[in-house]
């Protein structure tokens, strides 16, 4: 009995959690403007957050007018993040938001202080983590930047995913308000895209002293 009571309570709590990006279509072409031969390291977006929180997150929309980089694989939008000076007890999760119809197709590499690639993450190092398609990493001593570009070979590829969730609605009866929770089982078809949203998360894993 307790099990069901706990579940009912938890489902009710979930009612306030529903949110998400809009229904934008996947974009399979990118017409870069003023593309750079290499990223300007001085313009990197810092992953050092002013507020001391366990979880911090940045989201960067990627559109046709985003900063452009010319690579061996063609022109690509890009985003450069600067890894903070102190990386001990910090976990970085970099990727893209899983939108209803599309996912920005990320290619992720770390760079040293001179802009040279230290490591590049292969496709099988990516995973879906809730609403983000990402890699997780702890930074090596010589890794100073994270460069996110597009993996063009994935752009336009469709994939299906069945996602299950619950949704709660409040109804008003003669005796007051009541919540009703439904189960949702839905198949999404999404495609990798040149446009979407890049996500960078930083988790402070310092053990709590409380």
């Amino acid at each position: 009995m307790k099990k069901v009571v706990y579940l009912a309570a938890s489902c009710a709590l979930l009612a306030s959690c529903a949110s998400g990006p809009g229904f934008s279509s996947p974009v399979t072409k990118f017409a870069g403007v003023n593309c750079l031969a290499k990223p300007d390291l001085t313009t990197a977006t810092s992953l050092e957050f002013k507020k001391k929180k366990k979880f911090n997150e940045l989201s960067v929309p990627v559109v046709q007018t985003s900063k452009c980089l010319s690579t061996a694989n063609g022109d690509t939008p890009f985003q450069l993040f600067a890894i903070p000076g102190v990386t001990q007890n910090r976990v970085f999760e970099i990727g893209s938001a899983v939108e209803p119809l599309r996912v920005f197709s990320p290619d992720i590499a770390t760079l040293d202080g001179n802009g040279n690639v230290v490591r590049r993450f292969s496709k099988d190092q990516f995973a879906f983590r809730g609403g983000v398609y990402s890699v997780q990493m702890r930074a090596l001593e010589n890794e100073k930047f994270v460069l996110v570009t597009t993996a063009p070979q994935e752009v336009g590829k469709f994939f299906d995913s069945i996602q299950t969730s619950t949704s709660t609605t409040s109804v008003y009866t003669g005796f007051g308000a009541a919540n009703w929770t439904n189960g949702v089982d839905r198949n999404y078809t999404r495609a990798f895209s040149y446009e979407g949203t890049i996500i960078a998360r930083v988790v402070d894993t310092t053990p709590s002293t409380k």
């Binding site: 190092q125 299906d160 929770t181």
Partner: protein, 232 residues
């Protein structure tokens, strides 16, 4: 066992917004890992069969009482069906984890010891004489789940994965993997279910025990492969 289901189900349904999971990604050591000991007692003794947003759960205490009976009865029948086809989740997981490690040229030995008191990582790892590291995979819950009344039943697995060094002191990686979990928690690896393994309800599940077991095999294999993929 009941306690576990309560905790797991609560965790699953709350995970959508309540907390984010903080993983410890693997940082490859200078000496690549070639030998691993695998902790045993990977899976719970029984499969679950749980309907999350059931009709009963929407009807207060009386509904909850009725629902508890329905959920328990379904779970018993599903486990009977799995026993009938000699499905052994522990053996399946040991086999697929060993296979996944060997496919990466990592030799595997099984770490002997007592069964876990709770579904959590071992509190103390013995000094590993046979491997460079110990892989501790704890399946918190496996079985079948339906998001709610009228929704299909699909396999589900939730597992915690930890790799520690040979001394059992340093955590080399820690992560959580969820295969078809309702409202997955942010930060955990989420695997989408194979659409082949779908059942309309209790009767279809217990009348097709081979397919029921195969669905779990596919789900457990996906989790095992993902666990080993983390070691890179």
């Amino acid at each position: 066992m009941k306690k576990l289901v309560i905790v797991a189900a609560l965790g699953l349904s709350l995970s959508g917004c309540a907390s984010r999971y903080a993983a410890t990604p693997y940082l490859a050591p200078a000496q690549p890992i070639q030998t691993v000991s695998l902790a045993q007692d990977i899976t719970p003794s029984e499969a679950s069969a749980f309907e999350v947003a059931s009709v009963g759960s929407n009807f207060g205490l009386i509904g909850a009482l009725i629902d508890a009976g329905v959920q328990d009865s379904r779970k018993d029948r599903v486990n009977e069906a799995l026993s009938g086809v000699k499905f052994d989740a522990e053996m399946e997981m040991q086999a697929v984890l060993s296979q996944a490690l060997q496919s990466k040229n990592i030799q595997v030995t099984i770490l002997s010891g007592e069964d876990r008191k709770k579904r959590e990582f071992l509190l103390k790892y013995p000094k590993n004489e046979n491997g460079q590291a110990t892989l501790d995979v704890v399946v918190l819950n496996y079985g079948y789940i339906s998001a709610g009344s009228g929704q299909p039943w699909r396999p589900t697995v939730m597992a915690d994965v930890q790799l520690v060094d040979a001394d059992g002191k340093q955590i080399l990686l820690k992560n959580r993997i969820a295969y078809n979990v309702v409202n997955p928690q942010q930060g955990i690896i989420t695997l989408y279910p194979d659409p082949q393994y779908i059942f309309s309800g209790r009767e279809e599940m217990i009348n097709n025990p081979e397919k029921l077991a195969e669905g779990l095999r596919v789900a457990l294999t996906a989790v095992a492969v993902e666990s080993v993929k983390l070691i890179q």
